[in-house]
Structures are given as C-alpha cells and as structure tokens.
C-alpha cells in the first residue's frame, strides 16, 4: 500500500487526509494530538459522569470522605423523591408546555416577519429591521424589571402567558429567516403570482416548504433557550405549580435542601438528559445553529 502512493510532501500534511492515506500518517505528533484530545474529552465529560454516579448514591455515601467512585448500593431513591416528595410531573409539564409553544410561535411569527422583511415592501420596513438588529444586543437582564411591572399590571404574573409571551418571537429568529428567504429566487414567487396565488398562499405553499434548514435551526435554538431559560421564569413564576425545571432545581439548591446533593444531582440528571439525547440525535443542526447564529 505504501508503495502505491506518491511521496509525501510537507504540504500534504496540511490537507485533510484522503481516506486511503489515513493510516500511513500515524506519526508521533498525531499520536500526541489524539492523546491530548482523548484526555481532554474525558475531563470535559467527567462532570456528567460524576453527576450520574452521584445521583444514584445514598445521602450517607455522598458525604463519605474520601468520595467513593462507584456507588456501593445504587439507589433510585433520589429520583423517586422528585416524583413523590416534589412535583416533578408539574415542573416537567411546565417546561415542556412553555418550550413547545415558544418554539411554535417562533417558527410561525419569525418566518412571517422574515418573509415581510425579505420579500415585501411596506412603510417602516427599514426602521423595523434596524430595531430588530438593535434588539439582538439587548440582554434579558436589562428588560426584566419593567417587563415584570407590565406583566403584573396585566394580571398575568404566575401564568403560562407570562412565561411564554415575552419569548414568542425573537430578533435572532427574524434575522435567520430573513437572511435565508433573501436567497429564495423571485421568479419562483412570480410564477405563483401569475397563477393567481395571494401573498398568504405564496408564503405558505411556495416559501415555507423551502425553509426547512433555517426552521430546524431556529426550532432547536429556541427549544434550547426555553428549556434552559432561568432569569425570567425565576421572576415570573411565583408558585410551585408554575415553576419550570431550572427554577425548581435552583430553589431547592439554594433553599433548605441546599446540601441534599442526592436530590439535586438527580434533578440535574433529569434536566440535562432530554437535552443531551436531543443534542446527540440532532447534533448537526445544533452545531450548524451556532455557526449560523455566529454569522450575524
């Protein structure tokens, strides 16, 4: 095999190795890179492993010095307590309801305004787009105080609408959809227009079916943002029956159960696992999303 390939120049090393050449280039440098990366990834994933191991230990074992690595008597008690002592079902439902409606709202509304900004002319278009770009920068910590006052005066505090409405559309989503729709060729829409289709029909039947990739990215980013969102739900959800998962976990972590690590770690496992599974299944879209969001 080595005989069949041309001599290697330094330049070749820079390029992505072709499949046939891969094995031959196993140099010390390469081995070192692999070792460092493997150790690195192990360290990076260790907190997750430690979380899972801790979540099935008994409270007594968690406090042992020095810590044991493998649980001596693995137990599901910590998880069970989330369902018996605490209302995990309610927290989970809240998180799911808020996330799903937020995602749907973003998919529909961001595409609509993205379409308007990309393909239509209307007064104030430029102003609207500028405002969207400005709002991309505004962090939640700046608006949460007046938002709280507004939501309170509307009597919405501690309701689903309070948790959902402020996130029903987001500037990043509008930007994503607009950028993608700018690339959709006009003739396609012209043809539909000649066939007598109205704007709504063109939007629903011609444009939307082409928008799979940005919709997937937007959906995932929004779901992630909603599932992990903390500051606003912490302020807007005032009673247990409205807590989302992170809010519930944070309040137990800082409250009287603050050192009940078994319970807290089990909670962390319950919050992180669905997202990690989703991530592993759809990693391409997740990572694409970051790259796209980064290109703003």
């Amino acid at each position: 095999m080595a005989l069949a390939t041309p001599p290697v120049t330094a330049v070749d090393r820079l390029a992505e190795p072709a499949p046939g050449r891969r094995r031959r280039r196993f140099t010390t440098g390469r081995a070192l890179t692999y070792t460092v990366l493997t150790v690195g990834v192990a360290v990076w994933l260790l907190p997750f492993v430690w979380m899972v191991l801790g979540s099935v230990k008994t409270q007594r074992e968690i406090l042992i010095k020095p810590p044991t690595i493998w649980p001596e008597n693995p137990t599901g008690d910590n998880f069970a307590r989330w369902f018996t002592d605490l209302d995990f079902g309610q927290f989970f439902t809240n998180s799911v309801v808020v996330a799903v409606i937020t995602v749907l709202g973003n998919l529909v509304f961001c595409s609509m305004v993205g379409y308007a900004l990309a393909k239509m002319d209307f007064p104030g278009k430029r102003v609207l787009f500028t405002l969207v770009m400005v709002m991309l920068m505004v962090p939640g910590v700046v608006t949460f105080v007046p938002l709280f006052v507004q939501v309170t005066s509307l009597g919405l505090l501690n309701t689903y609408p309070a948790l959902i409405l402020p996130f029903l559309t987001q500037p990043l989503g509008v930007f994503l959809m607009r950028q993608f729709m700018l690339g959709i060729p006009e003739p396609l829409m012209e043809a539909a227009r000649i066939d007598g289709a109205g704007e709504l029909r063109i939007f629903a039947r011609v444009v939307m079916p082409l928008c799979g990739p940005p919709l997937a990215t937007l959906g995932i980013l929004t779901f992630l943002g909603s599932w992990n969102n903390f500051l606003w739900p912490l302020v807007a959800a005032q009673s247990q029956d409205m807590y989302t998962l992170p809010v519930a976990l944070s309040l137990y972590a800082t409250g009287q159960q603050g050192t009940d690590y078994g319970l807290l770690l089990a909670g962390a496992v319950l919050i992180i696992t669905p997202i990690l599974l989703l991530f592993v299944a759809l990693q391409r879209y997740f990572i694409q999303g970051v790259a796209t969001a980064g290109l703003k």
């Binding site: 330094a10 330049v11 390029a15 390469r30 890179t33 460092v36 990366l37 690195g40 990834v41 990076w44 994933l45 907190p47 997750f48 430690w50 979380m51 020095p66 810590p67 961001c110 609509m112 305004v113 379409y115 900004l117 609207l128 969207v132 709002m135 920068m137 505004v138 962090p139 910590v141 700046v142 949460f144 105080v145 007046p146 006052v149 005066s153 409405l165 402020p166 559309t169 500037p171 939007f203 992630l224 992990n228 903390f230 500051l231 998962l245 992170p246 944070s250 972590a253 800082t254 690590y261 770690l265 962390a268 919050i271 992180i272 990690l276 592993v280 990693q283 990572i287 970051v290 980064g294």
Partner: protein, 280 residues
C-alpha cells in the same frame, strides 16, 4: 400584515420594556408603585449617583470585569487549541470529539452549577484528585480568593464548545495555497500558525470574542446557584446585584444598574464590530 403579530409582541415585550427601563432609572419607582406607575417621582440622575456611591455596586463591576477579562482569553485559548488539534487531520474521530467538547454548551447552567458545586466541595472530586498529587486544595466556593476563579473555570468548561465550533469553521476557511506558500518558504509549523493562520483568523477570533463577552458580562446563574454572590461579595456580578435590588423592590435603582450593564455590553459590541470592520 405579515409583520403585525411580530410587531405587537416585539413592541410590547421588548421595545417598551427597553424604553421604560431607561425611563424608570430616572424615577424612584419601587414595588409599591406597580399599581399606579404614573405617581412616581422624577429624580433625575439620583439613582445613578446612588449607584456609583454604593461600594457593593462598584465591587460588582470589578467582579464582572474580572470574569470577562480573565474568562474570555482563557476560553478563547482553550477553544483555539482544540480547534487546531481537531483541524490537524483527525479525520475519523473529529465528529466524536466535537460532540464531547460541545455537550456542556447545550446544558442548563442551573443544572451544571449544581454538579460543579458538588465537585468543588471541600472533600469533593476536585480536591480528592488534587490530593492524589499531593496538593491540598482550598474550599473553592467558600474562599474569597478561589470562588471567582472557580466560577470562571466552570464558564470556560461550558463555553469552550461554542468557540471551538466557530474557530474550526474559520480554520477550514484558511486557504491551503497560503499555507503551501509558507511551507515552501521553510516556515516551521509554529511559525506558520503565528504568522499565517492567526492573522487570517482574526475576524473569526473577534467574532467569537463578541459572542462570548456579551454572555460573560451578564453572568448570573452561576453566582445564584453556586455562591449567592458570596463569600463576602467576591462573586457578586452586576447582573446578580441588579436581581438583588429588584428583589428588594427598588425597581428604579435596579433599572439604573441594568442600564449601566447594558451600556457596557453595547460599548463592547460596538468596539469589537469596529475592530472587525476595519480589517475587512
């Protein structure tokens, strides 16, 4: 018509709060005024004067600045090293490594803060591991010297994945011809990295810095779950301070604090965008 639902939500839940936050910061608005918002008094710059007269607020600015100034270079350096390693022809396992380093990015900060608190306990995993090599680790989160570095360490762990992905994309866009030319001139790999790759990567690096710094400037959850701003305010971030003042019902004061933070974020973004543009 297409923009209408968006304009409603956007206007009411984003623009109005942004403007009223600004307006509130010039009033003595407190939690008692929620029912009659128009009855508040205009106090001019008093809230801002009080803010900058409060040693704790100044402390929070220092903590936030440290978090950003230390956290960002460290995150960027680690992410760049990983991106270069992943780009150096790790064909088969690149995807797997990428998933591994990226995984923390998708997790809830609250949940991972709980895990890190567990790891950083006086007798936790980290100190046990340090014990094996003869180091007597500190009580990380209860030590005024080590609490903030602990939070920075966790932020680096959680955010490296984002920058790694962005840098990797940037590295892959570096034209091979340029590298080849450098090789022909006999440049060593290190020299090639410093003199060819890094300058070409400049826009990508700046972009990464902007993205991460906006997040780092607002750091809140870590402090909320792991330290509650302590010990002795050593991890009191400006966002946490704002939240605390909101909790005391001092809404006008909290708005002023949040606007100072916003100004810092806006200035930093502008500065970095200018830097980006000047090199285009």
């Amino acid at each position: 018509m297409f923009a209408a639902p968006f304009v409603l939500v956007f206007g009411f839940f984003m623009l109005v709060p942004l403007v009223s936050s600004f307006a509130m910061s010039f009033t003595d608005f407190t939690s008692r005024d929620v029912r009659s918002p128009l009855a508040v008094n205009f106090v001019g710059l008093q809230q801002y004067l009080d803010l900058f007269g409060d040693a704790r607020f100044l402390k929070s600015l220092g903590v936030t600045a440290t978090f950003v100034v230390v956290g960002i270079p460290v995150t960027m350096a680690v992410a760049l090293a990983l991106a270069v390693a992943l780009n150096s022809g790790i064909g088969r396992f690149r995807a797997a490594f990428r998933v591994g380093f990226y995984a923390p990015v998708v997790t809830s900060i609250v949940a991972v803060s709980v895990v890190w608190r567990y790891i950083l306990q006086p007798d936790g995993l980290l100190n046990t591991a340090l014990g094996w090599v003869g180091i007597d680790g500190p009580n990380w989160l209860n030590d005024t010297t080590w609490a903030l570095p602990s939070l920075i360490m966790m932020a680096v762990w959680r955010n490296v994945g984002t920058l790694m992905v962005i840098f990797l994309a940037g590295l892959q866009a570096v034209p091979t011809e340029v590298q080849e030319a450098a090789v022909m001139d006999g440049a060593s790999p290190w020299r090639r990295f410093v003199s060819v790759t890094l300058p070409l990567l400049r826009p990508t690096l700046l972009l990464g810095a902007v993205l991460i710094s906006v997040g780092y400037l607002q750091f809140f959850e870590e402090a909320f779950v792991m330290t509650q701003g302590g010990p002795l305010d050593s991890t009191l971030s400006t966002a946490f301070y704002t939240f605390e003042q909101f909790g005391f019902g001092k809404y006008g004061f909290a708005s002023a604090a949040s606007y100072v933070l916003f100004l810092a974020i806006a200035l930093l973004s502008l500065l970095q965008f200018r830097l980006l543009r000047s090199k285009d």
